[in-house]
Amino acid sequence: MSLGKILAKRIGYGLILLIAVVVLNFTLITIAPGDVADSIAGDMGGADAEVLAEIRSRYGLDRPFAVQLGRYISSIAALDLGYSYFYNAPVTELILQRLPATLLLVFSSQILAIAVGLLLGVMAARKPNSFTNLIVTFLSLFGFAAPVFWTGILLIILFVAIWPVFPVGGMMSASLIDAPWYEQWINIAYHLVLPMVTLASIYLALYSRLTRASMQEVLGSDYVRTARAKGLAENKVFYKHALKNSLGPLVTVAGLQFSAVISGAVVVEAVFSWPGLGTLALQSILARDTPTIMGILFLSSLVVIVVNILTDMILRMIDPRIRAD
């Protein structure tokens, strides 16, 4: 099968998954006690049955479940995620405002984790009894066991009380609202450091351990022995033969982990008051702002599906053995 055909198949399957996500969310929200009419009535300070019925008919909540679901799916297809009663704004607009901040956090922390994880893992595999190897072992234990918000809070304490060089909250200083774009970008990068490091800490551990394990496995394989036997320089064997082939597992895991990374981002955003999707999700969940919650679940599943397809394609491009089937 050609790459294009596989891609088309994966996209079609992704769409089915996405519709399943929407159906699940919609069902959950329908069977949960209380609906939008109740929360609007709650904000009004209570309402009688007649007013409740009027609100329900205005928002179409008195229609049969299938009709409501169908209407919701067709409006999503038109890129309309509904209207937030809490923020008084279209959900699509709300989410698109917050999405860049989350993507910036998620991707920068993943790049950091992969780069440093690769470096540490390779160094540890090269010298199994070295100090670096010990660091990788400790890092991997710490990365799994430390709650991510705790790491963040410890960093905040450190960078406020002891070494105040990085800002510990928000995304940009309010005074820069009219400043030229490059000044704003530098300021954002400055604010990004701590949230990025916090989120990267979990995955740094995972990636360094994974790289070490797959490097060790590849270094023991026959073709590496052949390469050494024919007198190839050790550096060349290491980086050209071994490293290239141990990238596969790293790409696979990084792709599979992506939905966990989004979960991590929700917590990190809450710790550092980073104005992204996670903060929006938390606020709308606490306010029971159903359309916004559903929109965020939809969009984050979409992001996960897209990343999974991309991972699959990258794997096929770097590894001819997978491409073959």
Binding site: L17, A20, V21, L24, N25, L28, I29, A32, P33, L141, F142, F144, A145, A146, P147, V148, F149, W150, I153, L154, I156, I157, V160, A161, L256, S259, A260, I262, S263, G264, V266, V267, A270, A281, L282, I285, L286, R288, I293, I296, L297, S300, S301, V304, I305, N308
Partner: protein, 295 residues
């Protein structure tokens, strides 16, 4: 028929006991795993036996807020309401550990069932069940469980179920691949030729032999469920009337700059617990897969 079944049972039992003895020896040769086990037992003693020695009510205001640790007779200090943090650590630990165990049990039950049926039957059943698993892998776990807790109200039950429902996919995958491997074994064919029923084959013949990797996965699940519960309580999505380690962190969080210890201490407790569990898990993994160990 019944005779054959008893014989098969005997065979599987013999395998289980002999590997159990070997496994124990292997486990206790691993220093890191033994250290993890000792740490875990210490934590269990602290959490469950501690309240008998230290009887202060964790919800009662006993002193001025934010008393530093080791001052005024408070070993771990007091929190923002002047409650004793040492008592909170014991009471909260009971809840955190219980939720961790219960949620892991939920996810292992779902994961093993899905994985077992997928691996045993193969074909269309497998295709459908694995698509179902994939669907749950796409859902952003924390967001989804936040929504469940928010919609159905924050109680111990909803939090436990919300964690269990989103975290079973890894167990399902492990179980399926073990079943795929074991169902081709001769003793399974023998049991099948004795016309054993499917459910008997799945739960009595294959599952006991598929347990080692599932046990390791389940063990890790407890650790990640504790972390998950902590993250939910930190975000304010937990039962406010029940104290857990995450709850202590979440409620003291607005005051981190005045009293970092009130947040650092419970975080450290979670860290130690999950660390102990994962050390034990690594040890179990090595003990249960001797082949991996030699590599």
């Amino acid at each position: 028929m019944s005779e054959i079944n008893t014989q098969i049972k005997d065979v599987t039992n013999i395998q289980a006991t002999s590997s159990l003895r070997e496994m124990t020896t292997m486990f206790f040769r691993n220093y890191a795993a033994v250290a993890g086990l000792i740490l875990l037992i210490t934590i269990l003693l602290f959490v469950f036996a501690g309240p008998w020695l230290h009887t202060t009510d964790p919800f009662e205001m006993v002193w001025a807020p934010f008393t530093m640790p080791m001052q005024e007779g408070f070993i771990l200090g007091t929190d923002y309401l002047g409650r004793d943090i040492l008592s909170a650590m014991m009471a909260g630990g009971q809840v955190s550990l219980a939720i961790g165990l219960a949620a892991a049990l939920v996810s292992v039950t779902i994961g093993v069932s899905v994985g077992a049926f997928a691996g045993y039957y193969g074909g269309l059943v497998e295709e459908l069940l694995m698509r179902f698993t994939e669907f749950f892998q796409v859902l952003p776990t924390l967001l989804f469980s936040m929504v469940i807790v928010a919609l159905f109200g924050a109680s111990l039950l909803t939090v436990t179920l919300a964690i269990g429902v989103v975290s079973w996919t890894a167990v399902a995958r492990v179980t399926r691949s073990e079943f795929l491997r074991i169902r081709e074994m001769e003793y399974v064919a023998a049991a099948r030729s004795g016309s054993a029923r499917d459910l008997y084959l799945i739960f009595k013949v294959i599952l006991p032999n598929a347990l080692p990797p599932i046990v390791v996965q389940a063990n890790l699940m407890v650790g990640s469920a504790i972390l998950f519960e902590a993250a939910l309580s930190f975000l304010g999505l937990s039962d406010p009337n029940v104290m857990s380690w995450g709850q202590v962190i979440g409620s003291n969080r607005p005051y981190i700059l005045d009293a970092g210890f009130a947040v650092a201490i419970p975080g450290f407790a979670i860290f130690l617990t999950v660390l102990a569990i994962s050390l034990v898990g690594d040890g179990l993994n090595d003990a249960l897969n001797p082949k991996l160990r030699q590599r």
